[in-house]
Chain length 219, copies 2
């Protein structure tokens, strides 16, 4: 199926690729932030652009066979979705959210800097919706009831300044193929946004139900 790949990497190779990915992506995130915040002269911008073109060419010497990273299942049962816009460790636009789970909830604590701005000095409302879609969907999946987003309702209680945030979600109930999850984003001053999501198990996953529900940990 498009978007899903099977691989067979050794634990050592997986660990190595993880380290390489994290270092590279952290560097690109710094560059993204510097691009938003620069106020430098034209010569320095031209110099930066030459380096950026050289870096892009180096990375493009060999590329994946697909035009997207996809979900890569390894033979050890783990999987990588490193292209994911919120949690992808090879995706510079991901903050990234690093998700933690316990029996009751899923959460992440991370920084939303200059590149996530909407109104002046505040996090973009849509970025907060994106964060909540991710944490609610992951909470439902981790609780054993995965699905694609069906409906997402976001209530903005007050503005969220750019800076550190905490996102949290939990599975409330399951009705047939529908999972209901709730959650919030908060800052040190308390909850700023609340959300409810309905996640629906896709048809293809119902046929291979055991597959998606026991897919194992994310690498």
């Amino acid at each position: 199926m498009r978007g899903y790949f099977n691989e067979d990497l050794s634990p050592a190779e997986l660990e190595h690729r993880t380290r390489v990915a994290d270092d590279l992506t952290a560097d690109v995130r710094r560059l993204v932030s510097a691009t938003v915040l620069t106020d430098t002269d034209d010569d320095s911008v031209a110099e930066a652009r030459r380096h950026i073109a050289a870096a892009t060419a180096a990375l493009q010497r060999r590329t994946l066979d697909s035009d997207h990273f996809g979900i890569r299942y390894n033979s050890d049962g783990s999987r990588r979705h490193w292209g994911n816009a919120m949690v992808g460790r090879r995706n510079p636009i991901a903050p990234p959210m690093v998700l933690h789970h316990d029996a009751e909830r899923t959460w992440a604590e991370f920084e939303l800097g200059a590149q996530y701005e909407g109104p002046g000095g505040l996090v973009h409302g849509g970025v907060l919706a994106c964060v909540l879609d991710q944490v609610l969907g992951s909470a439902a999946e981790h609780a054993g009831a995965p699905g694609m987003t069906g409906t997402l309702t976001i209530r903005y209680r007050r503005a969220t300044p750019l800076g550190p945030v905490r996102a949290e979600g939990r599975l409330d109930r399951v009705e047939g193929i529908k999972s209901y999850a709730t959650g919030s984003v908060s800052t040190a001053d308390g909850v700023t946004v609340e959300a409810e999501g309905v996640f629906i198990l896709p048809r293809w996953a119902r046929a291979a139900d055991g597959d998606i529900r026991t897919a194992g940990g994310d690498a």
Copy 2:
């Protein structure tokens, strides 16, 4: 107020900065995509990282006084929100959405590539929520009823493959300080996501009501 700045740039200087910003940001977007899709060897990654660090240093030779781009009003009545996560022309994580308006609606046609992935090969549901927040909010504002997002409800009708999309929004009605907008995202195969949003005029804008409603065009 934090996040809002007054500037006095000449038309020629504004035009020049726009061109410099567009070229730089387009280059960084290509690098972001290459970072997601690379499958190159460690030496090439190391080489890329050296160039990325040099580019970042060049851009950081002089930076804005603030830790965010903010909304920059110019004396000619135009304004720049170049740090905006969806439409910001100096923000590499923005697709960017270039918004068009007519008497009835606001729309944008753009590409969502590898860095906007959620499920394998598909656009992240949260990214679609972010796109819709932007186009609904802009539609309300352009129709003369701006506000911060109060509630956003997204209904996912079917999956949205990575690739070209169209987003569209319109103001449905205004009730006091609340603006109600609706819209959708579609591909060549039709509508994939629908949304409703309630946007609320913030207290500070009510005090200076004429200001935000007549802020003029975006640079």
